[in-house]
């Protein structure tokens, strides 16, 4: 059954009928499995991977990785304060990290101003946040396993034995 996930992870638009053919299963079987994955939260959502570098728009978005040092709370540890941080819509990812800081927060904003003001006015002001270090992302090379490049020309000769 896991192979359904392998197919969908490569191509979120593969239909249950197509997947059924690839895996020699019945379409209904695949449909049920997908539904189950969705229900269990194994499949969270389907989306396009967009290379924003190609959208020549001043405000096409800026991303920052922010290292956050926090004071853990009694009983709740890091989870509660993490929740307060990841609930902001500006936060696209949030991880608890081992090492010199605690949370790695990835923030997306329109431009440098929106991101900075989020850090200055929202994140840093939270009670248990001891300090932040912000790294602005300059260029994306690869994301979620996808190398962000134009589709390459076919290097193989069109016909061979």
């Amino acid at each position: 059954m896991k192979e359904i996930l392998e197919v969908l992870e490569k191509d979120g638009r593969a239909t249950p009928e197509e997947i059924a053919r690839m895996l020699k299963k019945k379409p209904q079987e695949v449909r049920n499995a997908i539904k189950k994955y969705e229900k269990e939260g194994v499949i969270l959502k389907y989306k396009a991977v967009i290379n924003k570098d190609l959208i020549r728009d001043e405000d096409s978005g800026l991303r920052a990785l922010i290292e956050v040092n926090i004071v853990p709370q009694k009983d709740a540890g890091f989870d509660k304060i993490a929740e307060r941080i990841y609930s902001f819509p500006e936060v696209t990812s949030c991880y608890l990290i081992s090492g010199t800081y605690d949370l790695l927060v990835i923030v997306e904003g329109k431009n440098i101003h929106t991101v900075s003001s989020f850090v200055a006015e929202k994140l840093s002001c939270l009670e248990n946040v001891r300090g932040t270090t912000t790294h602005f992302l300059l260029k994306k090379y690869k994301e979620d396993g996808v190398i962000l490049k134009h589709r390459e020309e076919n290097k193989r000769i069109a016909i061979s034995y």
């Binding site: 197919v7 490569k10 191509d11 053919r21 069109a158 016909i159 034995y161």
Partner: protein
């Protein structure tokens, strides 16, 4: 002036579909299902090993037989994977792909006029290379037996002058392969007539429905089998040109004699990369195999549904559907499909006369292209059908 070209070369049959190939190569924006190599790029760990070897300055010749490191790696790999026992010192030779291995094997065993059995449809070079080596290819048509060579037909084809047989499985262009029992049945005939068996098993790792059994691993067969394999298909390394030949030491010694004078050695960068492939590419190789398996199921099902009946190939990345129902011959079908729908396939006749009425479709293409190409073929078939009415 005398004729420059030797009689032998002049008599070689040029591939009958060269013109069709040129047509394909001259066209833009086509979807090609005619490609005989993986659509994957060599896994990065392997490429990186090649680059690193260059940085380290490995730019020299290697021993004729190939880097010892690679032969040792292969010896262990074959032992672990197939329980094959080949000594890295005397029984393994690194070749420029299976192509060179095949040429060496044939030239090593053939005396003028010796016959070599070739089941057809077959890979294009078996016949011509046999002839170049002074042998006489004896073709056996397998189309009526699900493209498999049967012991009965083999028995019938063998006579006193038969020196050997070329067995290729999984087979290019049909994708069929043999189970242990079928191989054992063939091996009895081969042993009885003491034939040398040249086995091109380059698609062995791409076997989907059952375990691939190397011919040399069958009882009593190692002593007269030349096992040819390479990195091209399963490791997606076609352009590196690395293959290997394993066999009894006297045969390998013979092959090495020719190899040392004609090739000297396989490029060291490629050998270094191949050595890395044996240790670090298991995961990507398995992933590629799963992807091929899915595409195979998809393509076979789609083709059968649209009325191009095709058997289920057990390996490689080819299907070989019949197009007889369309009333067109292989070349006409392929040309028309190319012109009208911009989809390239290989006419079955490229693989011998018995391939008439079939086309070879390669599924070494991304799912997106496969879907689109199959859609176009379906449209094409619909049009032919209506035109006939």
């Amino acid at each position: 002036m005398k004729n420059i070209i030797s009689k032998k070369v002049e008599q070689m049959q040029p591939s009958g579909i060269r013109a069709f190939f040129d047509l394909v190569l001259g066209m833009k924006d086509i979807i090609s299902l005619g490609v005989g190599e993986p659509d994957f790029v060599t896994p990065w760990a392997i490429r990186e090993a090649g680059i690193y070897s260059l940085e380290q300055g490995f730019t020299s010749y290697t021993s004729n037989k190939g880097l010892y490191k690679l032969r040792l790696g292969l010896s262990r790999y074959l032992k672990a994977k197939h329980k094959l026992d080949y000594s890295p010192e005397e029984e393994i030779l690194i070749t420029v792909g299976v192509s060179e291995g095949l040429d060496l094997a044939l030239r090593t065993i053939i005396n003028p006029g010796d016959k070599i059995v070739v089941p057809q449809p077959s890979y294009v070079s078996y016949g011509p290379v046999t002839e170049l080596a002074g042998g006489l290819p004896i073709y056996i048509d397998t189309t009526k037996d699900d493209f498999k060579l049967t012991p009965e037909k083999l028995e019938k084809a063998v006579d006193k002058r038969t020196k050997g047989i070329i067995l290729n499985y999984p087979t290019n262009p049909t994708g069929i392969s043999y189970r242990r029992k079928e191989l054992e049945a063939l091996s009895r005939v081969i042993l009885k007539h003491r034939l040398v068996c040249i086995c091109d098993e380059v698609y062995g790792d791409l076997t989907y429905d059952f375990e691939h059994i190397p011919f040399a691993g069958l009882g009593g067969l190692k002593k007269n089998t030349i096992y040819l394999n390479g990195f091209s298909k399963s490791f997606a390394m076609t352009g590196w040109r690395v293959g290997f030949a394993c066999g009894p030491k006297d045969i390998i010694a013979g092959m090495t004699k020719i190899h040392q004078y004609t090739i000297m050695c396989v490029p060291i960068t490629s050998q270094m990369a191949a050595a890395e492939a044996l240790v670090s590419a298991k995961k990507p190789v398995e992933e590629m195999k799963r992807e091929y398996r899915r595409r195979r199921a998809f393509v076979v099902e789609e083709l059968n549904q649209m009325g191009l009946s095709c058997h289920n190939p057990q390996g490689a990345f080819y299907v070989f559907p019949s197009i007889k129902k369309t009333g067109l011959n292989s070349l006409e079908f392929s040309q028309k499909l190319l012109k009208e729908e911009k989809v390239a396939v290989v006419p079955g006749t490229a693989f011998g006369a018995s391939g008439e009425g079939y086309i070879r479709i390669s599924y070494a293409s991304g799912m997106e292209s496969l879907k689109e190409a199959l859609e176009r073929i379906k449209r094409f078939l619909g049009r032919i059908k209506n035109a006939k009415k």
